[in-house]
Symmetry: C2
Subunit: 446 residues, 2 copies
């Protein structure tokens, strides 16, 4: 594994050790600002291990006055422990992402309180009583503000770190910094863009049910060509500072608050990677709902609501990005005021903006599809599907998602707008009688 | 001036001082390998100041056994001295470019012998009896191997530093390093991509003769939109490690040797920037020849030869780049062997390669045009034109170049191949009776 090889060559920082539950209070007590925020004495602080991902320790700490969240990079991928060592550098990049985007995050991310470079430990605002958006989607709970809030966050952070809103030197500094995020980018390159289209022991699709689909993806030259175009875009189109992992598991919600977390995959890349990731995961959630065989009316209403969130997300992202652009009066080497008077709403500038956002949509569509494929076929599965106990049923709801994803990549002209994308869900719906899905026939060839 | 502001904030390295002619031998004597290469004693070394550019000191040193070339970054732009301070970092980037491309340069660049980080002094192979290709073009001397050799150099260095031929980590390291080349990139961004389309005191076009052209460029929204697309490509399309200034003044030639020099503008960007720069300058040379009013037959034959060099350059670049790709069996995150078997010449891989090179051609065309505009209108003029003493005549041969450049940018579909580009020269030729050039009428409006 390339990720493994790279990690083995990256030494741990001097002073690094894996923190246990009982270490946390001692570490926090050394920071007067954090100790004061928690209140009382360290003995009164309650520390709880809440890690649910693969890569990090996460502790929630509650004191008499308030709480904080502590996140530490571990030197391995949790699921595999010693089998998959991983550089702990990622906490540095997550804290750098939080710092760089903080002025543009509009309160839609937790506040960074402290970064300990030796321990690769981030202390940040504790969110309560937030839940993970993905879990809420699985549970069928509506959070009406969430998709628009993520769109707001994405539009603002992406716009303000792009060539539209910076002298090139500032953006080049971001590129230079985040280009060093090798370990997690190797994971993205391999797990998202390469493995799902190959024979690879890391792939974890439902077998034998999806064998025919996995084989079809491996053998589809047109599909791999489309993936190649977008893999090369991911590597060589540094439009803006990406979150890099903006799925529904990286969003925490309450009914009136939304926060984007986990920016450790930060990378300067194509804007559509972030927006596509979010849309792709909403679509996966929509497909997973087909597994609910009770209370069809409630299920269908919730699926319609998810589809509406996709539309709201894209429309709001589009409108907010444009609004930031229209309001921008700062430096810009991409569209300098000396070429395009921002106060004169010229045909040319309007056309350039429309062209820019059409290009972001094309990327969004492709990256959404690539995300859908890798979450059904690759190593990192999503709970929307893995919570479906019956493998045959899981495969049956994943197959339509794969069919749609393939068509989005190979026939992008079918999906020039978010509306046409959403209308295509009907065609790919396992639950509808007019579904043209090849799932049963294809599966029988497995 | 942005370049000035940035430079004022960059301190000189500890130990830096501007070297004079009499310092050089002392500096070289401290390096036993260089002293041995020169031979004899320092007192026997002959040092000659040969700087002809704006940015650096250049000394040729001859000893009994051989010679070296010494190049030092100066902390200002020579032409303006104290008016335009400039960071001396560029010597570091030039030496980094020489080191990184050396394995792929095929002997088509001078060998780097030493880089002194304090003095920002490069010691490299002395080329003799080479002349600058631009001077040879002005003098009407043919160097039949030059264009193909530059194509060979470009194809090899660009291919081997691209995502086609590297794991992404290696390329990301190049991006991170050359992203710090702020001072010279600010020059490119301003002088190439922004200034010529604005009112700017740095612009130096022939006035009043080209006033109408300068105004037409400033007021042409479609043109500035095309420039914006390619400025953004320059900033955000890191395909490969560019030379960054690959014009005929950066090539030294004899009848049987060709060397590419002066990589201080190195930047990871779109491949077409290097190829377009070279082609754009050959076209400028072709246009400048129209000023020769004696010996029409010889002049016309030489112009035909220049046009042939444009075709040879592009064809050879195209073929060699493809040949490197077809032969590549090393790591590739752009087109991994697990997706595209390099030994199976599939339709898809052939199509991807053709698409890649068509995209490079589109960029080549646009960057050639942008180079042509800036060399006629902007700060850094070229000797092909500035050697024409009569300003009216100079303007008359520049106007057709501007007309062609504008059309290349606004109507790129007219120029899908190098052959169609070359055929268009006839239409834009001041010397031909069927020329449709608006030069005289337009000039009268100045």
């Amino acid at each position: 594994m390339a990720g493994m090889d790279a990690a083995q060559q990256t030494p741990l920082p001097v002073g690094y050790r894996v923190l246990a539950n009982h270490d946390i209070s001692h570490q926090l007590a050394q920071r007067p600002d954090i100790a004061a925020a928690l209140g009382g004495t360290p003995a009164q602080w309650h520390v709880r291990d809440v890690a649910d991902g693969n890569l990090n320790s996460v502790f929630l700490v509650e004191g008499p006055n308030g709480g904080v969240c502590v996140k530490q990079s571990l030197p391995w991928v949790r699921v595999a422990k010693d089998d998959w060592p991983l550089s702990v550098e990622r906490a540095f990049f997550e804290s750098a992402y939080m710092q760089r985007t903080e002025p543009f995050a509009l309160g839609l991310a937790p506040r960074l309180l402290h970064f300990d470079a030796s321990l690769r430990m981030i202390v940040m605002e504790r969110l309560r009583p937030h839940t993970i958006l993905r879990q809420a989607l699985i549970a069928g709970v509506q959070h009406p503000l969430a998709a628009r809030a993520v769109a707001e966050f994405a539009a603002s952070t992406l716009f303000h770190t792009s060539d539209i809103a910076n002298p090139f030197e500032r953006k080049a500094d971001d590129v230079a910094l985040f280009c060093k995020n090798h370990a997690l980018q190797r994971i993205t390159v391999d797990l998202v863009f390469i493995d799902p289209y190959t024979h690879n022991t890391r792939n974890r699709y439902v077998s034998p049910h999806l064998n025919a689909w996995a084989r079809a993806l491996r053998e589809d030259g047109a599909l791999k060509s489309a993936v190649a175009r977008h893999r090369n875009n991911y590597l060589s189109k540094p439009q803006a500072l990406l979150h890099g992992d903006l799925h529904s598991g990286s969003v925490m919600v309450t009914q009136d608050d939304t926060r984007v977390i986990d920016g450790e995959f930060a990378w300067v890349g194509p804007i559509g990677f972030d927006t596509g990731n979010f849309i792709g995961n909403l679509l996966l959630s929509w497909f997973a709902k087909a597994s609910h065989r009770t209370d069809a009316q409630k299920r269908d209403a919730y699926r319609d609501w998810i589809a509406q969130q996709v539309q709201d997300f894209w429309q709001h992202f589009h409108d907010r990005f444009l609004a930031h652009w229209q309001g921008w009066r700062g430096p810009s080497d991409g569209y300098p005021a000396s070429h395009f008077d921002p106060d004169a709403d010229t045909t040319e500038l309007r056309a350039l903006k429309a062209e820019y956002l059409e290009d972001v949509w094309a990327d969004t569509l492709a990256f959404a599809a690539i995300e859908m494929v890798r979450r059904c076929i690759g190593f990192a599965q999503v709970a929307d599907f893995s919570s479906i106990q019956d493998p045959a049923l899981r495969a049956r709801v994943q197959a339509p998602a794969l069919a749609l994803a393939r068509d989005m990549l190979v026939n992008p002209h079918h999906y020039r707008t978010v509306q046409t994308l959403l209308r295509s869900l009907t065609r790919h719906d396992l639950l509808r009688p007019d579904s043209t899905l090849p799932h049963q026939d294809e599966l029988s060839h497995a």
